[in-house]
Amino acid sequence: MKLVFQLLLIPVFLISCSSSKKVSHDDVMASAPEWVRKTPNDPQYYHGIGAAAKSAQMDFREKARQNALSDIAGNISVNISSSSVLSQFEFDNKFSSYYRDNIKLSTKNYLEGYEMVENWETPDRYWVYYRLSKAEYERIKRERIQTAISKSLGDYREAEKSISAGNSTEAIYNQIKAIEKIKDFLGEDLQTDIAGKGQSYTSRLFADLTATLQNIRIVYPGNSIEVKRGQKPENESLNAAVENKENTHLTGVPVIITYSFSPGKRDELVSDANGTIRIKTGILHSKRTTENISAVVNFEKMVRETTSDPVVRKLLSNIKAMEFVLPVNIIPSVFYVDAGNPGTLREIEALLTGDGFTIASDRAGAGFILSLEATTTKGSERNGKFSAGLIADFMVKDKNGQMIFNQHITDVTGLGTSYEDASTDAYTALISKIRISVYPAMYRVIFKD
């Protein structure tokens, strides 16, 4: 019975695994037209062959057509003129490759004048053959260049007007638009006539844009500012003017502010109707004596807002706005330290100076009075070892006598070969405790919270 069952299984497996079609791929392809097997080489045309698997889930004819157009676009060579603006920004051959990648993508979208020559299909696959006359392509391309320059010149003239009116912001936006209009031809040497003078149009646009951008200045209220370390600045914000070289205040200019004392902090501001930006420094904790605030026109944002074209964006990323630096002189807080034990006093003063604070020789000259009151008590004695306990109060008052930090320290122990030794050891332990936990807590409370 078992054997019969096993024998029955064999045909079941054989049936389940057998293929219903036995026609070979070579048999099918033998009847395919020549263009399916080999791309035509008529030099008058760009040729594109596209194929797609037949499927109910997608429009395979459209897919094949797209593939054929991609094939045509891939065959159209992208030349970059050595006198084009692209060549000026070429450092390591990366940029031209990048430009070619993008141009091929856009070429496919702008292809016109192509014609379908033939199609062919098998039960499961569809082929289509398109071609585009090279002469026709060149004609259409020339037309497109003319149209692009014409549109671009419109923006260029608007930019000229804005510059004359002292509106550098608007001028920059128009100059970017003017470049965007000719984005597909940045690899060409586009000659045009401006103010009766024939010149390279693209280079002119870039030079003008660079000049307009670099004409913008960010002017601080002084050559430097002074800020007390760890304390809120007297003025909540620092006002800087955004203007051009003609001292015209500029509205709507995006500016990036960075702070050398706060890595990663970056404020993106926009100049207001008076051409002013308000910089908020916040509390400085830097241990250095000088830091700086940097302001730079957020040209990247202006580009981003004006064009989404990756080539234009990438090309314009080579144009750098000027950086305006404001030195910040940090005035350290002044402490007067009152600690009975000379060793402890020295250590506390070292902690403070290590953090950039200044030590005053008298109370009157200090912003903060740090006092440490500590007493030791005799502990036990055993086998020639002595112990001592220590309690202390670590207090910081401001110059008005207001208590701003207070910590009562109880669990400090000293060991030694005499009570004096043990007491000294307790003070050493106290210093460790202050360094590891009390001082950082004080710093947080006074300067950070």
Partner: protein, 541 residues
């Protein structure tokens, strides 16, 4: 035979067919995915099959085709995400694609990724990592370490050498632990602080001043332990010093102090016990100290003193039973042997008849009462502390007789004819059934009596019974053919139903345990029980 050879062949054939079937199914399923434009799913399917069936070129070809289409799709996605400024998507799509291309190499397939993808990735990476790096720096500045860690870890995975990522990642990982340690140190939880810092130290020995802080924390805990010790708070001292010792056994004199904290209270108790005459307890205390600390103070000498003082010599006496002495003597010898084998340091065992035959004769009168004067004499003259007295109250040994009964049965003879038919002949026969039973019972009481005052220190009654019996059948014919008979209505007939029971009797053992062996077993068991109880007896409790 045919069946045994063919069956494995059929299964091998089926396995081969199924293997081929898997390839065909994969190609069929993959083609469906491809037709739907699901090239990733198709590629994954082909890839898995390729790994299982590396010698199938059709699967490899399918993987190369769909894999190439998949990465071309990805190239388009990457270009699109880059162009719309979605740098994160560009970066991660590229990484996915790159990993895929590297993965399929394992299946022997080389794909040709569009070089433009790498250019987009490089550009996007530069932008994306710059953003993330800035965000991470900001998080560090705001002490948001978890966020910073996640950010820098993400950067690290994309480009481990990006700017100062390694250091920031380290800072984001360690700084909260470092600060936690400082907080715990401030709260006087020195060992917890130590452990926090140590967890950093194990990964980066040079992180900040973590090594120095660990020493500080250990030192503070050491001082706490030392002060506890000075104040004779041995338990807390042992805890504190033990923690320091565990962390660093060579820290100052912590080993010495920890030893003292552990052993001093035990040593002191030992002395107190010795002074109060609890020598055995004192011995154990000193022994613990010696085992733990070796030469701590004069613990070894005190232990010897305690052992000397804790000695507990006992004399064993067993009464005669019914005028017979041999069996009680045999039991006593066994009991003494068992007591010695306990290896009890304090117990010394003597046979009273050897120590003082006179006292042995007179110590217990016929009523079973002890002569206190003789007990005292044993204590004074022989330094005996107690007498172990065994009194048999029952000792019976019954050896049964072998009973034999003749029984009627049938021997069934089956013969096979040349024609293939069988014939059965039942022949009436005689066989013998035999049985025997041996048994031994012992009941005794034992008492441990103090020689000092006749006090009964231990008393118990032990009773044990052991027996053995046999029952078997003997037949001089062919045992397997023997059937029992039944007798009903004057007719003796074969009893098929009880065949198995009779066969069991035929095969049953014919040997029986002798009463001597049964006695030995009882003596062994009872003496072990008594010796165990005596061994566990502590005169100080």
């Amino acid at each position: 035979m045919w069946n045994r050879t063919i069956t494995p062949l059929i299964f091998i054939f089926i396995i081969l067919i199924t293997g081929g079937c898997m390839v065909k199914n994969t190609l069929k399923k993959g083609a469906a995915y491809e037709a739907a434009g699901m090239f990733k799913d198709a590629s994954e399917l082909y890839y898995k099959t390729c790994l299982k069936r590396p010698k199938k070129p059709e699967v490899k070809i399918a993987l190369k085709r769909s894999g190439q289409l998949y990465i071309e799709d990805q190239a388009e996605n990457i270009a699109q995400s880059f162009n719309r400024g979605d740098y994160k998507a560009t970066v991660y799509d590229y990484i996915t694609t790159r990993d895929f291309v590297e993965k399929v190499v394992k299946a022997g397939v080389d794909l040709k990724p569009d070089p433009a993808m790498k250019r987009y990735f490089d550009d996007a990476k530069e932008n994306y990592l710059a953003q993330r790096y800035e965000a991470g720096q900001k998080n560090i500045g705001e002490q948001k370490y978890d966020e910073a860690k996640a950010t820098f870890f993400e950067i690290f995975k994309i480009d481990p050498d990006y700017k100062d990522t390694r250091n920031y990642l380290k800072q984001a990982t360690f700084e909260p632990i470092y600060q936690d340690g400082a907080r715990l140190y401030g709260e006087g939880k020195y060992m917890e602080a130590y452990r926090k810092w140590n967890s950093i130290f194990e990964q980066d020995r040079n992180y900040s001043d973590v090594a120095d802080r660990m020493k500080q924390a250990l030192n503070e805990r050491y001082k706490q332990g030392s002060v506890y010790l000075m104040n004779e708070n041995f338990q807390d001292a042992a805890t504190a010093l033990g923690e320091v010792h565990l962390a660093d056994p060579s820290f100052k004199d912590v080993k010495l102090l920890f030893t003292e904290a552990r052993n001093e209270p035990v040593y002191r108790k030992g002395n107190a016990f010795l002074a109060s005459g609890k020598c055995r307890t004192a011995y154990y205390a000193f022994d613990n100290v010696v085992k733990d600390a070796g030469t701590y103070k004069d613990a070894a000498g005190q232990r010897e003193k305690a052992l000397d003082c804790a000695q507990f010599p006992i004399a064993v006496k067993t009464s005669a039973y019914g005028g017979r002495t041999s069996a009680p003597k045999q039991f006593q010898a066994l009991l003494i042997s068992q007591l010695i084998s306990q290896k009890n340091l304090f117990l010394k065992v003597y046979d009273l008849s050897v120590v003082d035959p006179r006292i042995e004769q007179l110590l217990v009168n016929l009523s079973g009462n002890f002569n206190e004067e003789l007990l005292r004499q044993l204590g004074n003259k022989q330094n005996i502390k107690a007498v172990l007295y065994i009194d048999f109250t029952e000792f019976s040994r019954n050896e049964g007789t072998l009973t034999k009964v003749e029984k009627t049965g049938f021997e069934r003879i089956v013969t096979k004819k040349a024609t293939g038919e069988t014939s059965t002949v039942d022949k009436q026969v005689k066989y013998e059934e035999s049985s025997k039973k041996n048994s031994v019972t012992v009941t005794l009481t034992y008492k441990l009596v103090s020689v000092a005052n006749g006090e009964i220190l231990i008393s118990d009654r032990v009773s044990e019974n052991k027996k053995d019996e046999i029952r078997y059948a003997s037949y001089f014919g062919t045992n397997d053919n023997l059937y029992p008979s039944s007798f009903q209505g004057g007719i003796c007939s074969i009893d098929i139903g009880n065949y198995r029971a009779l066969q069991n009797l035929v095969r049953a053992s014919k040997s029986i345990t002798s009463v001597e062996t049964l006695t030995d077993k009882i003596f062994e068991s009872v003496s072990r029980k008594i010796a165990g109880n005596i061994n566990n007896f502590n005169p100080e409790k």
